[in-house]
């Protein structure tokens, strides 16, 4: 995506808001904005940037919308007249419905995959084809998700949710942005460059949301979490594509600029806003990122943050990741005892991470034979091919160590 394209996409939700206010019909206006973005990306590099890019997009999108209305024989004559009489006014600076557009795309009527697809298109300005490539799904499937989502929103009014609904709606939007980031962050390098671009897209949209809601602690926490996580990306794979766990990463390859920005943001936020799960996860990431060497990691602080997180937003992954910190602070035997106590939990039973972490703890505790078995079991249960390769390599490494140690 060119810089001009990104600038046009930054304006997309604002332009869409103006069109919806002017013509109604969110679905049709969204199509018109999408077409205007395509025009911008082809015309701006050749003709130069317009003086008022937002005004340019509104004018072009309006023309597209009116042309669609004209060709639509089913529309009433009255509606057409209203559309044609409307002056092609410059957008007033006060009319910024970006947040309304963002929250509408994450409406509770929509399924999560539809929320993600619609947000990337209507707010992010990505084409259906780009979204399909990023999510490794055929284009018609994404097209269907978007058109069905828009059909479901047909009866929903284009208004900011009322104060009572707002926290839940912003939380759903944060969740969608988190999913987009994660999709990009877990993308393997090489053939999946479109997918990897999703982290930049998620960061861009989260920055946009934070500008609109600067006092919202969890949005700031989410942005900090993304920055602190993204900072480690250059170090998390070997040149051959193999996974490198956090403790073994070459920390000189971490992005210091992102770490500084993320650390500053979470430090300011966590003292000012009511604390939430994204802020705590960002704080944990910041503690990892500030350690120059893995052995310098302040595990006691990480454990304290996990204790807080487990109380605030319990979940299977938090339970398991917390045990890694327990082992570093209190030793692997204590962590293994705690792991056995939670292993029967239905949300953990049969999960490959349970076995991967037990393997890691057994390895630390000096029981390499049992560790090899648990690594092998985890390798069989994961759905990720790179993780399976990593776990298989751990199984043979500890197995070898065990056999040579016994000799």
């Amino acid at each position: 995506m060119t810089d001009l394209g990104e600038l046009a996409r930054d304006l997309a939700p604002r332009v869409l808001g103006i069109l919806v206010r002017r013509y109604g019909d969110f679905a049709a206006c969204e199509d018109a904005v999408q077409e205007a973005l395509v025009d911008a990306v082809t015309q701006w590099p050749a003709d130069g940037m317009p003086d008022n890019p937002a005004g340019w997009l509104v004018t072009v999108a309006s023309r597209r919308r009116i042309a669609a209305l004209r060709s639509d024989q089913a529309r009433s004559r009255r509606e057409l007249t209203v559309a044609l009489l409307d002056p092609a006014a410059e957008p007033g600076p006060a009319e910024d419905d970006t947040l309304t557009v963002m929250l509408l795309c994450c409406h509770p009527l929509l399924t999560e995959p539809s929320q993600v697809a619609l947000t990337l298109r209507a707010v992010g300005g990505l084409s259906t084809a780009e979204i399909a490539r990023a999510f490794l799904v055929p284009e018609p499937a994404v097209g269907q998700r978007i058109s069905r989502a828009k059909a479901k929103l047909a009866g929903v009014s284009f208004l900011l949710p009322v104060a009572d609904d707002l926290p839940g709606r912003v939380a759903a939007l944060n969740r969608v942005l988190y999913l987009v980031f994660n999709e990009g962050y877990t993308a393997s390098s090489g053939p999946d460059l479109h997918r990897a671009g999703l982290t930049a897209e998620a960061i861009r949209l989260t920055r946009q949301l934070r500008d609109l809601l600067p006092e919202h602690g969890e949005t700031a926490g989410l942005l900090a979490l993304m920055l602190l996580t993204e900072a480690r990306r250059p170090a998390r794979t070997e040149p051959d594509g193999a996974l490198v766990p956090l403790g073994d990463q070459d920390r000189s390859r971490w992005d210091r600029r992102l770490i500084a920005e993320g650390t500053d943001l979470i430090t300011r936020t966590i003292t000012a806003a009511p604390v939430g799960p994204y802020q705590l996860q960002a704080a944990i990431a910041a503690v990892h990122d500030e350690a120059g060497r893995a052995e310098d990691t302040d595990w006691a602080q990480i454990l304290a943050l996990y204790d807080h997180l487990a109380a605030l937003a319990p979940g299977p992954m938090i339970t398991l990741n917390r045990l890694v910190a327990v082992a570093m602070v209190h030793g692997p035997r204590r962590a293994l005892t705690e792991l056995d106590a939670v292993a029967g939990d239905p949300s953990l039973a049969g999960h490959h991470r349970l076995h991967a972490i037990r393997a890691h703890l057994l390895d630390q505790a000096g029981d390499q034979a049992a560790a090899a078995g648990e690594y092998r079991l985890a390798a069989r249960l994961t759905l990720s091919l790179p993780e399976r390769r990593y776990l298989e390599s751990r199984a043979s490494a500890v197995g070898r160590w065990f056999r040579s140690g016994c000799r």
Binding site: T111, E112, P113, S114, A117, V137, P138, P140, A141, V142, G143, Q144, R145, I146, R148, T186, A187, S188, D192, T229, R236, T237, L243, P245, L246, A356, L383, S384, L385, P386, E387, R388, Y390
Partner: protein, 124 residues
């Protein structure tokens, strides 16, 4: 998440199918058509095919020095054979199971759901 829904067949389930009246068969096929249309409409369907008769299966023979590692399946003569599949992309495993349960063969225990491997690089 992507899942493949596998629809199996065996002589018992074929006998049941062959014993159905034309109307009953049409009803069964309509369930498939409706499910496929619904999944296409929701954007969850990635691919779906019915497979030809297992008698048309061609097995590639073990060649050269390679050892033939066949155990008992999958063989053309095996009692069970794959009759068709859906490849779907859905929110979670529960949704995949919900879709699979609507396939008529599920009543006879002939449908299974398997997650698809991915290339995700999780944090370790």
């Amino acid at each position: 998440m992507k899942y493949v829904v596998l629809i199996w067949s065996n002589p018992g389930s074929r006998r049941i199918w062959e014993s159905l009246s034309a109307t009953e068969r049409a009803g069964g096929l309509r369930v498939y058509a409706e499910l496929t249309a619904e999944l296409r409409d929701s954007g969850e369907l990635l691919a779906s095919e019915a497979l030809a008769d297992p008698d048309l299966t061609v097995r590639i023979p073990a060649s050269g020095q390679a050892k033939d590692l066949r155990t008992d399946a999958p063989l053309a003569e095996a009692k069970e054979h794959l009759a068709g599949f859906y490849l779907i992309d859905v929110a979670d495993a529960a949704r995949a199971a919900q879709i699979a349960a609507r396939i008529p063969e599920a009543r006879h225990g002939m449908v299974e759901v398997r997650p698809v491997m991915n290339y995700d690089m999780p944090d370790l």
